[in-house]
Each structure stands twice: as C-alpha cells, then as structure tokens.
Assembly symmetry: D2
C-alpha cells in the first residue's frame, strides 16, 4: 500500500526572498515532496495561497500523512482550516511539523502549550544526535549527523513531555534543543522535526531526507479514519454490558444528549 503524503508549504519567502528562491526554485514544499517520493510513498503539495489553503475536506480525507512548513504567515492560516486539520489528526491522519512550524496554529492547537524557544540566525553548525537507538524515525542514520549552517533553536522548548525524544541538537553557539519529538493526539501520530530554516539548503541534505521519509512511514496509521471523532455517546441502562438497575436521581431524560 502506498502512503499518501501531502506537503503543505507557506510559500511566502520563496516568492519574496532571492536566497530562498535560489535554494528552492520550485518552493520548499516541492523540494520536500521530491525527497519523500520513493518506494512506498507518494507525495503531493498544497500551499497557503490556494483556496482553503489547499486543504479541502476531500484532500485531507485522501491524505495519510500531512507535513507542515510555515514561518512568516502563521497568522494567515484560517482558524477553520486549523480545526479541520486537527480533526483529521484526531481521526488518524499523521502530522509532521517542520522547523518554524513550532509556532504554527495547528501545532499549538495540538500541544496545548506555548511551543516557544530561543533562536539565532547565524548560519552556525548544528549536530543532531540520535537519543532513541533504532527508533523507526532514525532508521539508516548514524548516531549523529551535522548540518553546517542552520538557525539555532534553544531550550527550554515550550512543549509537553513527548512520548519519545528521538533527536537532540547541539549548536555551535552553546545551546541544545530537543529536535525530534513524538506525540499521539487522538488516533493521529505527530512528529516535530527541528531543522529546515529557509535560507539554508537543509531539505537537500541526505540525512534530513532520510528522517522525512522515515517519519512519514512512522506517522502513517493504516487503520480506517475514526468517524465522529468528537462523539460522546450515551450508553443506556438497557444496553449496559452487565445487567444493572437504574438507581438514584437523574439529570438527563432518556435519549437526551450530554452537555458540551
């Protein structure tokens, strides 16, 4: 079964900044999608500028894993689309947040925390260390790999404790950062991966591309999407799995919905 990945790109700096346009002439989203395409993964792209940001209900229903890169225009993403993506994650769609997407509405929505950090744009050296040996997302990687020029992100990183810490970054200027973190939100697998500042050729790096492909395979949940993902069904007394008799006062009438 082919995994259907969809790469969402903000697609702003590619249009306005010559450095970014030179590194990613077809846009960062297209470079990422090209890196994903392989035996087992198909990859399409969507951008902020498209109707519904390219994330229609039909499109999301056909997406196994969504990758998200955004930076300058987090605020331009419609709240309605953020909720739609969140529901698909809850229902089982995988989601991979890239670099500056730590401040994407969808990441903050799913984490419930500020997702803040410290930063410095100096083209310094970053070295990523694998902290969970043989984790599927680290498959085929050495114990560490280096990106010669990257933006620095530093701890404390304002996220919940993850299920697993897969990568930690060392920065030349003296900081560290938890660069690969796994979460589950509803039935959806979520992975945050730090590298990917737009003025450096990070998504052309072979190790980074390996992480992206691994992460898509890890995040893919082959189970059917959960329907009615916010449902809170009443189980009437007469349908109880064990025979019980109703006792005491009640608030709700038969068949009445719960409050929410």
């Amino acid at each position: 079964m082919q995994i259907r990945a969809l790469v969402w790109g903000e697609n702003v700096h590619e249009q306005t900044n010559k450095t970014v346009a030179d590194i990613y002439p077809d846009g960062m989203h297209e470079a990422i999608a090209a890196a994903l395409r392989s035996d087992g993964i198909t990859a399409e792209t969507a951008t902020l500028q498209q109707p519904e940001h390219g994330l229609t209900k039909e499109r999301l229903a056909q997406t196994d894993v969504l990758l998200w890169w955004g930076h300058a225009a987090h605020g331009d993403v419609a709240d309605e689309i953020v909720e739609r993506v969140a529901e698909h994650v809850h229902a089982g769609m995988g989601l991979i947040l890239l670099h500056s997407a730590h401040f994407a509405k969808i990441f903050k929505r799913l984490m419930g925390t500020p997702c803040n950090l410290t930063w410095r744009e100096a083209g310094e050296r970053e070295r990523l260390w694998v902290t969970s040996r043989n984790h599927p997302i680290a498959a085929g990687l050495p114990d560490h790999f280096t990106l010669e020029n990257e933006e620095m992100y530093g701890e404390p990183f304002g996220v919940p404790e993850p299920l697993e810490t897969v990568f930690i970054s060392w920065f030349q200027g003296g900081e560290v950062f938890r660069s690969g973190l796994t979460y589950k939100r509803g039935a959806g697998n979520v992975f945050y991966f730090r590298p990917g500042h737009e003025t450096y050729p990070t998504y052309h790096d072979a190790n980074v591309q390996t992480v992206l492909r691994n992460a898509v395979r890890w995040a893919h949940n082959p189970a059917p999407r959960i329907k009615d993902v916010n449902d809170a069904p009443n189980v009437p007394v007469e349908s109880a799995l064990e025979p019980i008799t109703e006792r005491g006062p009640r608030l709700h009438r038969d068949g009445e919905d719960g409050f929410r």
Copy 2:
C-alpha cells in the same frame, strides 16, 4: 506556606435542580472548597455568573491551584477567560479538572484532543483503583475505594497519554475509565479526576476529599510564576554563549522580532 486554592463552579444546576441543591445547598464549589480547607490549604470560590467569571487577572495571580467544575454551561465560558487561565497554567498555576470538566474549554485547550468518552447516568457503583502506589495524589488511600452511586464514564477517553495514570475506575455496568491522570503543560501541573456527578453526594465522600487535598498539594508549584510565558527571545550572535561568527544569508535584520 499556605497553598491558595480557588474552586471554580459553574453553579447552574445548584440553582435549577432540586436534587443538586439539596445535596449541595451552598453550591458544589463551596462544598469542594470546604473539603480543601485544612492545615496548609486556604480555599476560595468563583463562579460563572461573576464578572469575568470570577477569574480576573488579579485573582489568578493570587491563585496557586485552580479547581474547575463545569457541565451544562461549558459554552458560556468566555474564550478570553479560557486563554487567560491557560496562560496562568503555562506560567506555573496548578489546575485540577473535575468530572464533567473533561469537556471544559480549558481542558480541551490544554490537551489538544477531543477529550470525549462514553457515559451513562444510572447511579451505578464505581470503584477506583490506585495504579501508581504511593503517588502523592493517592497518599493515605487504600488500594481501592468505592462510590456507591455515580455516573459512568467509559473508555476510550480521548486524551493524550498522561505522565502517570494514578487511578482507574471499575463500573458496575461493565466499563473501565482512567480516572486520575497527571499532565504538565508549560510550568503548570494538571490533574484530571473523574468522580463528581452533581446528583450524587460524591464531594462529601471522605476518600474523594482526600484525593482533592492531595491533588492540590501535588499541583502546587512554589516557583515564581514565569513571566512573558509566550516569549521567544532572539539571542544575538554577539551574546552567544560560545564565540561564533555569523555565516551565510539571513532573513531577519538585527533586532527584528521572530515571526509568530
């Protein structure tokens, strides 16, 4: 040092339902606050109907641990107040969610998930089992205790994997539920505790009261509240902890704020 607890009550059914009013003549929030008061804990109350729902900035700044009971009127809580409470939790305020607060805006905000479940209002027997021995929240409790009449909540419970599962409930009708779950969100400790349907005298139960007092002590973070909890400070090259030289192209000018 006294811990300053604040019990927030929706205070709706106490006014409209004779059963609830008979069990909790001063309101559920007052019963809960009375149960908290002890050596080491002071407790006040606030309700939905007060200006700013009783949760002004000044009040929250003076609160170490907030307890939240809501059910019929989740939708009436102003979004602005929910964000204010979330920021205080991120900054270090403890938060305890009680029973039907699984659907409170603030809980969904902090969890990032649907927080849904199955339910049945039949006055059936609930038995809570301690699953983390000697956890501070279970201090002084036996391995299990029983509530003769409670509403049933059943799995799957739509929340993220907790830091620790402290209680699991057995229900007479055949369901189970993770009844005591710990989380950390930013610098704030968060605890969800299941029992407490308004038509039963749950908050008069001695074991439940023990859990509430324990939970307040556990959730209390004595460290000073974090200021500017959403800040993402730039660390300029010249202030780097290790000497580095700027390299490569930049997106941001000196002193410019990051995108968000």
Copy 3:
C-alpha cells in the same frame, strides 16, 4: 519481508494437567504459533525442556520477535539464558510477555520492578477495553471484547509507567488491570499482554489472536541488530567532533578502558 516470530512455552502444565492438555493438545506454544502464522509472519516454537531452553545464540539471532509464556517454572529458567535474551532485546529483538510471564525472570529483568499484582482463579468474565484508539496493536478490534472465563489479575500492577496503555481489563469480581502495556528497552520493543490462563481456551479466541499478530508486527524492529550492545566507547580528544584541548587532571591513561 517475513517477520520471524519465536514462541517460547514453558510446556509444563500441558504435560501434567489434563484440562490444559485437552485445550492445547500440541502445547500452548504451538497454539500461539499457529495463531501467528499469516501473511507476513512465520512462527516457530521453543520450550524450557530443550537444550538452552531452545534459545541458543543462533536461534535468537534469527528471531525478530520472541513471545514468552511461563508460569509454574519461572525459577527453572537459567539466568544465563535470561541475560542472553535481555541482550537481544537491547539489541533490537521484540519481546511479548504473555499472562503469567509478568513474573518471568526476563520481564522483571527488563522492568526493574517487582511486577506483582493480585489474582483469583474463578473463571470469571474479563472485558478488555481499548484505551489508545487505532493503536497498531488494537488494529481491527472493536472498542472492547470479552473473555467469558479468565483468571483475574488486579491492580496495583508493579510495573513502571509504560510508554502507552493500550488495553485495560474489567473483571466481574470488581477489579481492573492494565492489560496491554508498551515499553522500549534499548532498541527492543516490549509488550505485555494479560490474558492467557492455561485452564481456559484464551489463545483460541479470535480477538486475542488478532492482538498477538498485531503485537508481533508492532514489536518488529527491521533495523539491523545493534552490535556490542553494552559498549561504552571512549572518544579521544584528537577525535572530538569539535576541536578541543585537553585541560585539567585525568584519571585514565590514553587508551584505557572505562570502569564498569
């Protein structure tokens, strides 16, 4: 790629107890292995009575996922074999512990805790609830399923907090139990699954068989086994990734091994 499962059975009660022999005429291990065989999984068996308990170095090197059922003879398993299995788990072999294997030496070795519980052998009803929706180990299962006759295991279960709680059991006599728990130990995935008392036909149950197949697929780590899994390599100054100069006093001479 076929996953190579190996089912280890203690094979004692099948030889000494007519009830068990009637339910599992070829032994529990053979029944479990037969349930595993499917597209994608091959399954062999090994037993306590074989030389080296059937767990030679060559055999383990050819095993992707080991399943372990033991009860009456935990003490007869040689410590040397337990260590061998532990090393293979650390190196990446999956391990699935079944029912009374909660007291197997290998489980206690990997958990570091007593792994104790309460129990009752009364053929009572057990109902397993899925607590992690769409978890790969729960694929294809309904939200709950029932085993009409099982031994009861009750909380508190003396194990570390898991990575994820996948199943929780309800028992007719009033107890609950965390019945499906995931761990990672070194590079190896570990799953504990509760049902499977030998006097009941549990391993003939279709839902249980689904869990076993799912668990094997989940536990399988396709990465090459880690070599020298206990190594703690010295990184000499001259091989440091960043240029550093040795400073201050030293304990170790050049090339000397670390203490252990």
Copy 4:
C-alpha cells in the same frame, strides 16, 4: 519533618589519587552530604568499605533518600546489597544516581537496560540546560549553567524513556547528553544526574548543590514504606468485591500460593 538523606560513596579514588584527595579531602560523599545539609534535610554517609557497605537493613529503613556515587568499584558491591537497595526503592525510598553511577549495579538493576554512553576525559566545558521549566529539581536555577571542566558523556544513553527530561548537557567537543532524568520504580522516585567526575570540583559548584538539594526533596516520598513489596496476594472468590461464583477448571487448590 526532616528528610533523612544518606550519601553512599565508593571512596576509592579519594584514597588512591592525589588530585581527588586534594579536591575532596574528606571524601566525595562527605562533600555531597555537607552540600545537602540545610533547613529540611539531614545527611549522613556510608561507604563501600564498611560492613554491608554501610547499607544495613536498619540504616536503609531510616533513610528517605539514598544518593549513590561509584565508579572504579561497581563490581565490588555485593549483589545481596544491590537487591536490598532495590527493594527499599520499590517500597518507597528515593534514589539519586550521580555521574558514573550510570554503570552502578543498582541503576542497571532498576532500569533494565545497558545504561551505556560515550565518554571523554578532557576537562572540557559542559553547559546544562533546563528542559522542564519550573520542575522542582530545577527550582532556583537559571535556564542554563556551566561547569568549566567536566568529563564528557555522550548520547545515545542506554536508558529507558524517562518520565521527564529535566536537564540536557551541551559539551564543548560536540556532544549532547540527557543529564537529568526522572523515573519511578515501584513506589520509589529515581533521579539520574550526570555531572560529578572526581578529578574536578563539581560538587563544590553552587548550582550543582542546588540540584542535589532539590532532587532530595523531589525524591522524598513521605508515605509509609510499602511492606512485602513483592507480594502477589490471592483474592479468594468468597472475598471478591462483587459477588461471583466460581466457574470452570482450576489449577490451584484453595489457599495455595501462586507460582513465581
């Protein structure tokens, strides 16, 4: 209530290495104990060379939190004493492992993993970053602090995923390390803290001393020690919490112990 800490020191290099003896003239254990003594904590010491390594049953019964520093003589610690300490941790005693105690028998016993890492003794700079803001163990600390000369420990660190990652270290030579990790084993809180190579004055550092005092307070579990910590009690049918009738075949006779 005073917390009773006990600092266990291997006390080998203090006797054989002039550098170590000069930095810690009364032994590392005495320096650590002195750093702990404060309002609320009393601290005594024990060493390898004492009868039963100074860890008699009576002594452990009077200990709330045990701190452990060992390096050259892990192998000389008697297995019986390791088991005794493990049982006390399971029963609720706190345990803090310092630096090279990553290879102490008691740490490997409780983790179930190799606990290995990479290392380099070059007196290089280590900077510890707080990754869990306002965690009690980080109380009163800045977001980062530096030790000018330390031994390097590098990832991957062969331990299970912790409950929380409190500190991550940056090393001058290019490595990172999870330097502060929390676990719970049975009823006992366990904390691993990385710094503390014997040829550097690490335990005289004010920030390190703050961590040690914080960690003792965090690890302290005021609940009474659990008795019979390995018990697996049978719950007879006639004592079941809910009335049940025995059904089906049994393995055990009335009153018979379980297998183990």
